[in-house]
């Protein structure tokens, strides 16, 4: 696919497709499915957004519970504090992950979530991509007697780490991941009483390939000026679908329609933010209790988040380049792609300066907003140092703000607004944004835009 194909979508998107409404419908349907799992006799699995073996679980018809999404939904629905306080009364420290605490609160409330009753899992898959996942799963082992499988994914070992499909390091890592998948399959067979079918895995992978192809294009379309969507608002809906519906026809269809709609927007020159003045990169996780407010603070200055690393690592790292399953050898390919995604899209968080420097160029951003989260060491521990490094090396303006994922007690509106305002004033003093009229739109890399794309 060339630049032209991305920028020449002649067809208008079907008027009836509204990504937000459709996304909400799908999420509601998913929560409805969770409530019915027991009645349907469906097995249930707890999974995380990073390193989750969803492809294998779908072969056994598991209903998938995403505890991170459950927790963030308590924030979106403004009830997180109730869950957090319950867990703190139980003994959880104020200094640990608020997602974990909201989930402990959920257990203490006997799985009653504002979106419905969350079923207890028959198995939990916890990867090592975020170390807290493992501690979280151990809590389920204790409190709910949930059997846990830890999926150990060898991550990026050092800076300037280059691993290519088929090289010796990748082969060694993929072999280890494949061994674990075989172990997991045996466990799933024991739990569900069902036989694993390789053909079913290939079918699921085909849907993932289709979805990821469109997803890559969706991400790439935001390299255009103006950006057709806000990565930290609309993008959050998109990755919700990427996670919950990965490996399904509905998920792939959603992403196809979304891509089509965004292409039409780009063709019409429609940006998400009217009069887009500043293109920004958001690094970190959102504050779900004040998500709209946070975005509003930036949009009011004409700032749009063209990209966020959250869309990469919180969607399994699947956009991290050339991740296509070879359905003629499903299990081997699953292991190979999983090992690559772990290194290119997840654990590279620990060497974030490399990826962010590339993202700054790809999305042609005017500044980076770092959002430090007190309770999330995965995104936050190296953030200040990364910022310092990029400031010195790239001279790129940046802003550092702090709050929490879902704990409203850490959101300080006046303080954050002051910092955001000061950031934009400094951007303006630097001469304002680059003039868009004469600036070539940031464009997707051909290799990324073409994967699985239908246009």
């Amino acid at each position: 696919m060339t630049i032209d194909t991305v920028q020449t979508p002649a067809t208008a998107a079907p008027a009836e497709f509204d990504a937000r409404v459709e996304g909400q419908r799908l999420m509601k349907e998913w929560y409805g499915g969770l409530e019915l799992a027991g009645e349907r006799g469906q097995p249930v699995a707890n999974v995380f957004v990073m390193g989750n073996a969803i492809e294998i679980l779908r072969c056994f018809d598991f209903q998938l519970v995403f505890p991170e999404i459950n927790s963030l939904q308590t924030g979106v629905r403004k009830v997180s504090e109730e869950y957090l306080r319950l867990s703190e009364d139980y003994g959880m420290s104020p200094d640990v992950c608020s997602y974990v605490k909201a989930d402990v609160g959920l257990i203490l409330k006997e799985q009653k979530h504002p979106a419905g009753l969350i079923p207890k899992a028959d198995i939990a898959i916890a990867s090592n991509m975020c170390s807290t996942f493992i501690k979280w799963a151990e809590i389920w082992e204790r409190m709910l007697k949930t059997p846990t499988f830890v999926l150990d994914l060898p991550g990026q070992r050092a800076a300037n780490w280059e691993v290519r499909p088929g090289d010796a390091q990748h082969a060694a890592d993929a072999r280890w991941v494949e061994a674990q998948f075989r172990d997991l399959i045996e466990r799933c067979e024991r739990i569900t009483g069902r036989r694993f079918r390789m053909e079913r895995l290939a079918e699921v992978q085909s849907e993932v390939n289709r979805m990821v192809g469109h997803w890559n294009n969706v991400m790439a379309l935001n390299r255009n000026c103006p950006a057709p969507y806000n990565a930290m608002l609309d993008g959050l809906t998109y990755i919700g679908i990427m996670n919950v519906y990965r490996g399904t026809a509905e998920g792939a269809d959603f992403m196809a329609r979304l891509e089509e709609q965004l292409r039409a927007q780009v063709a019409r020159g429609e940006g998400k933010v009217a009069g887009e003045k500043f293109r920004l990169l958001f690094s970190g996780t959102p504050c779900y209790v004040s998500m709209r407010r946070l975005v509003e603070l930036f949009e009011s200055w004409g700032g749009v988040f063209a990209y966020s690393d959250y869309l990469t690592f919180a969607a399994g790292g699947m956009d991290a380049g050339d991740l296509v399953y070879d359905t003629s050898r499903p299990l081997e390919s699953l292991a190979e792609v999983t090992a690559l995604a772990a290194q290119r899209g997840l654990s590279n968080q620990f060497f974030a300066h490399e990826r962010l420097a590339q993202n700054v160029r790809d999305y042609d951003v005017d500044g980076i907003v770092f959002h430090g989260i007190k309770s999330c060491r995965f995104v936050s521990s190296g953030m200040a140092d990364t910022r310092d490094y990029l400031n010195k090396r790239l001279k790129i303006p940046s802003l550092y703000i702090e709050s929490d994922l879902i704990d409203p007690r850490y959101w300080s509106d006046a303080q954050i607004k002051n910092r955001v305002d000061a950031f934009f004033e400094s951007l303006n003093q630097r001469g304002g944004p680059a003039p868009h009229a004469g600036r070539a739109a940031a464009v997707p890399l051909a290799s990324e835009a073409s994967i699985g794309g239908e246009a």
Binding site: R157, R377, G382
Partner: protein
Amino acid sequence: MAQGIQEDGETALVEILERCNALRLAPPPADDALPAGYSGTLGHFPVYFPEEIAHAAGLLPVHVLGGGNKLELKYADAHMGSFVCSICRSTAELGLNGTLQPLTGFVTHPICDAAKHLAGIWSRNLPEQLAQILYLPQNVNTPGAVRFIAAEYQRLRGELERKTGRPIADESLRASLRIYNRNRRLLRELYAIRRDEPWKLSCTESYLLLRARTRIPCEQHNEMLEAALPAIRARRRAAQDKPRVVFVGGFCEQPPLEMLETIDDTCYVVDDDLLIGMRWFTADVPETGEPMWALAESFVERSAASPVQHDERKTKEGYLMEMLRTSGADAAIVTAAKFCEPGLDEQVAWSKHLDHEGVQYLILEFEEKMTSFEQMAMQLETFAESLLFSIA
């Protein structure tokens, strides 16, 4: 005469302990101060690191254990958030202020996310050093784990060979295994004294003796322990009326020495997880066969436990109860370092389980940089009195 020998032994032991304390406070040795046979130093972060590989490469393995309570942070505040644990922040400080500048390399592990970020901070600020994450697996239960670990050790071996320009022969690795196996046996003896005759060796003294290996070659540490152990056994100290306790929570960030002394004042600590990575193997590593495989297999089959290592065969509650049982302890001191997510999570699990089992315990939160221990001393006194009353 016997009295004189005993006094000589005690004098020698005091001297050894003073040396250990000086080593505790010392930075890693500079390259020109290294013993013969060593060309540089390899820093590694807790919990476990296969020191034998560095040792065989002619690199002195030095534990990077933060800055204790004597270090003032000047640079780290601008590089790591205030919500990150003290050991990670002070380790970053030691890198940024030049103290750890002479290291040949620095290796960290997937024990927690803050620890993994140290490799990134190192690569950005000390690019001349070899900065690595050694991916020790969190799944040691799937067949294939040993093979993966052995491959990861071979990778590290290659990195060290490239960095030093010196090949690491299998025979050198076997020689290192033998030296470290000797060390493991001596440390097991040290802990046996703590268990069997705790009045002869306090937790603080034992900790100092253990920690000395973080700054000197293992062979020197063996000599030190060989000199210390007979002197400890020869001590004529009367047992005091103190409860026997197990201490947990010292697997990564180190409690200040004054905190251990405060605990020693009221309790006999008959087992602990302080620097558990230095005692990670519960038995000797096979000295024959392929050395990397032997190390990898030992990691899976003959290892201790910690809150930052998942192993289906060892629940966290299970290994704490095992520590209590094998050491004959009456109670537990369950600590966690401030802002240490795994430690704080485990503290909840342990306390709930001890409640369930009817085992008495004391919860303490610490920071390596803390300097005031009066309140802790009062808590410990109350705890010890209540224990003595209940077990009388």
